[in-house]
């Protein structure tokens, strides 16, 4: 135990894999280990929500405890000694994966989540014997009528992250567990369509699913995750300024993803950010300048011709009526740099303060 001199708050001292570490009261074993760079596997854990302790992948050994404890839910104590990996822990985690696989479809070659699936990763990492207790894949049928969210309940591992993010973060609760045991399925109340159970189409459940049970429907056959380039940028919709990762393949936007902890949004997004970026790929984009011809129609042309036309007319009007005969609308959708340059152009080059944008609209 120690007291931080600057804040006066108590800090606790514990040992993790033989290394002494200090942490704050209330920290969990998992958060302390992650800060130390120690990798602990998790399926049901999501930083955006309270720990659940359901999947048992994060089991670790704590000296003096009666059995292994889930690192995600266990709060640290002063003098605690934690071992994150041992033969016993390895076997336990391997056993969890083998049990999950015993009724999992094993359809990785056609699964949208392949390459982005915790179950697949851990099966490989823990060198599982696939299905030593037999294979009884689930055969549920369910609605799959949402335009953006693809559902495949047979791939579900019942980690409950979709149930909890909709209930605990969104405050809605579209999803719930139905039935018991092997028959357990995550479904909407009375198997109603999502739009009748308060769904706001945010796709938070898709972002929370660690496997291929809930996936992006519209980018299904566009590109595998390992084929895409990933770029962190800011959403161009409302003023919240959520950060997201744009996945692209060749010259197309494939999908938008986030991770817990990302941006002011902490990995949360709404329907527009998550499912509304496809306009970038639209064949209807403007790709050539246009000028109005003698018949009064707008016709495609080259950049040079378009810029010539603007130059002639701007110079003519400037000569006839001066800078004050001009006005410019900057843009709440363009970058700071572009807006700065735009007003500099209007004020410094054209000679007018008639600059505005739709700030009030």
């Amino acid at each position: 135990m120690a007291v931080a001199p600057e804040t006066g708050e108590r800090t606790l001292t514990l040992t993790v894999d033989g290394q002494e570490v200090k942490a704050a009261p209330g920290d969990t074993i998992l958060t302390v280990c992650r800060r130390m760079g120690i990798d602990i596997p998790t399926l049901c854990y999501d930083e955006r929500m309270e720990p659940y302790g359901g999947c048992r992948m994060c089991l670790v050994e704590v000296e003096g405890a009666r059995g292994p404890v889930p690192a995600c839910a266990a709060v640290i104590g002063d003098g605690m000694s934690v071992t994150t990996m041992s033969d016993k822990i390895f076997k336990l985690r391997k056993f969890v994966i083998e049990l999950l696989l015993s009724n999992h479809p094993l359809d990785c070659p056609v699964c949208e989540a392949a390459g982005d699936c915790r179950l697949q990763d851990y099966a490989w990492e823990y060198d599982v014997n696939m299905t030593p207790w037999g294979w009884h894949p689930k055969d549920f049928e369910t609605r799959d009528d949402h335009p953006n969210v693809a559902r495949n309940p047979n791939r579900c591992i019942n980690c409950g992250r979709c149930v909890r993010i909709c209930r605990d973060v969104m405050g809605i609760g579209c999803w719930g567990f139905t039935n018991r045991g092997y028959e357990t399925i995550i479904d909407t109340p009375y198997n109603l369509p999502l739009e009748q159970v308060g769904c706001v189409s945010c796709g938070q459940c898709v972002s929370a699913c660690p496997v291929g049970a809930l996936t992006h429907k519209r980018s299904r056959h566009d590109a595998r995750i390992w084929q895409t380039d990933k770029t962190d940028t800011v959403c161009p919709y409302c003023g919240v300024g959520c950060e997201f990762t744009v996945q692209t393949f060749r010259d197309r936007l494939v999908r938008v993803t986030t991770e817990p902890g990302q941006g002011v949004n902490n990995g949360n997004l709404c329907v527009k950010g998550r499912f509304g970026m496809e306009f970038v790929n639209s064949p209807d984009r403007l790709t050539t300048p246009m000028v109005r011809n003698e018949d009064g129609n707008l016709v495609p042309t080259t950049w040079d011709v378009a810029l010539d036309r603007i130059e002639q007319n701007f110079k003519r009007i400037k000569e006839e009526a001066g800078g004050k005969a001009f006005a410019g609308l900057a843009s709440a959708k363009c970058t700071n740099e572009e807006n700065y340059l735009f007003q500099k152009f209007m004020r410094g080059v054209i000679g007018t303060n008639n600059v505005d944008h739709c700030a009030r609209l």
Binding site: S201, G276, N336, L361
Partner: protein
Amino acid sequence: MTNSIADIHEADVMLLIGSNTTEAHPVIGIEVVRLLKEGKTLIVADPRKIDLARRAHLHLQLRPGTNVALLNGMMRHILDKGLEDMEFIESRTENYEAFRDSIMSTTVEEAAEITGVPAEDIKKAAELYATCNNANILYAMGITQFHTGTNNVLAVANLSMVTGNIGRRGTGVNPLRGQNNVQGACDMGGLPDVFSGYQKVDDPAAIAKMEEAWGVTLEDRQKGKTIMEMMRAIDDGEIRALYVMGENPIISDPDQKHVEESLSKVDFLVVQDIFFTETCEYADVVLPACTSVEKEGTFTNTERRVQRVRAALEPREGTKPDWEIVQLLATRMGADWSLKGPEDLMTEINQVTPQYGGITYRRLDAKSEQRTPDVVFEETDSCGLQWPCPDEDHSGTPVLHAGRFSRGNGFFSAVEYKKPIEEVSDEYPMILTTGRELVHYHTGTMSRQAPGLNALVPDARLEINPDDARDLGIKHGERVRLTSRRGSIEPFAWVTDRVSPGLVFMPFHFAEAPANRLTVQTFDPISKIPELKVAAVRLEAMNGGSADAGAESKETSV
């Protein structure tokens, strides 16, 4: 926002007024839900039963355009009960006496009469807001889009100051800005009266500073015109050339017919956009720009956080980033600019914009790289920098007005309630209020081109109370005709008790049924914001009415 998104949930009581947060700012909506789940108190003041109004402890369902009356009524009760924070008022504010006199000239009962909110509820809201440790106010265009918009904001600020709820985490006056970079466009001088950093265009010192930095002599040394004034100046022949970069005034501006007339009249119109918008129809030259996914730069969000925008794709063939187009035009007009990219521009912004002095790409990029999986929302400072950030050693400003207001003392303004421009009449017996909805965005230039969004909401919906629908023979899902003094549109009916009888609501995103065909152009004399929230209208069934009219929708709003 005076405060940050991360401290919203730290309030004990939140007054949400004129903001449909879960639809217009959904991820901030998550923080409001979090506040509720943490057992804090939520008061929603909104004419509609929006999602958060249904979840709130108290819903003040005021008549559209009566915000000042409601807020003054709350303040009257605060003064009556002696709940004001005299220590804060004496040490941090001025003009309190005049403010107090104006509040004492109104009564809670008058407020109840004007707003339609029971006096007991106004009193309860006042007590909740004034008696907790930390109270904050979130507002949006339900406060500002009135001919009295400035007064509404001043009344909000008065309420915050009279109870000392500003300058700490979990407090503040927090406007939620509607568009991704509307904050940044204002910060950068995309306004008629200021250069970047709100330096006045008629201030000789600011003029001299910019002239030196830009190497020019500035021709215009007076305030310019706002959008609405520009349209009128076009009518008068005073403005002859208009250059539009990434805006769509035909859909976003009030009284669409008038905007159409103005844009038809203007001598020369250049429109630069990513799609062929409704405004492009009127252009003499159209220039193809690229999307934000194909650009480098920065956006500034509603909490003043400047964040890096990064190019994930090369510009689509034939398109150019907007900055490059502006530079090409400047060169044609004789300027000698040789900017290589947005980072050069940010360096110039750092030099001439005090609030952005220390916001460099180097710092923004370094911060993004530091991100760890353990950053939790309260500590989210993993991205961007919040202005004011005057120099490279400054870590940004999450809470404004702590200890001192930027002008010194907080100024109380005496504001009186004024009626909306239009009231109901025999010919136009209902009130239309407009706004945003969850799935679409602004003029639809982006969202209407996203198949995943159009699949959810393909068309404009008009919210109609079941009683009105029944009386008028309107069936859910049918097309209806909505007419104001300025025009007529045909949205489809969404029968719901979200609106009270006599009120209809629709979003302005849809070119097929543009709400702004109907809205009022009269604007606030100071902020020049138009009164988009109140228009008198007439609603009619088409095809002579339906037999099973008035039945409510089973579906939720999305």
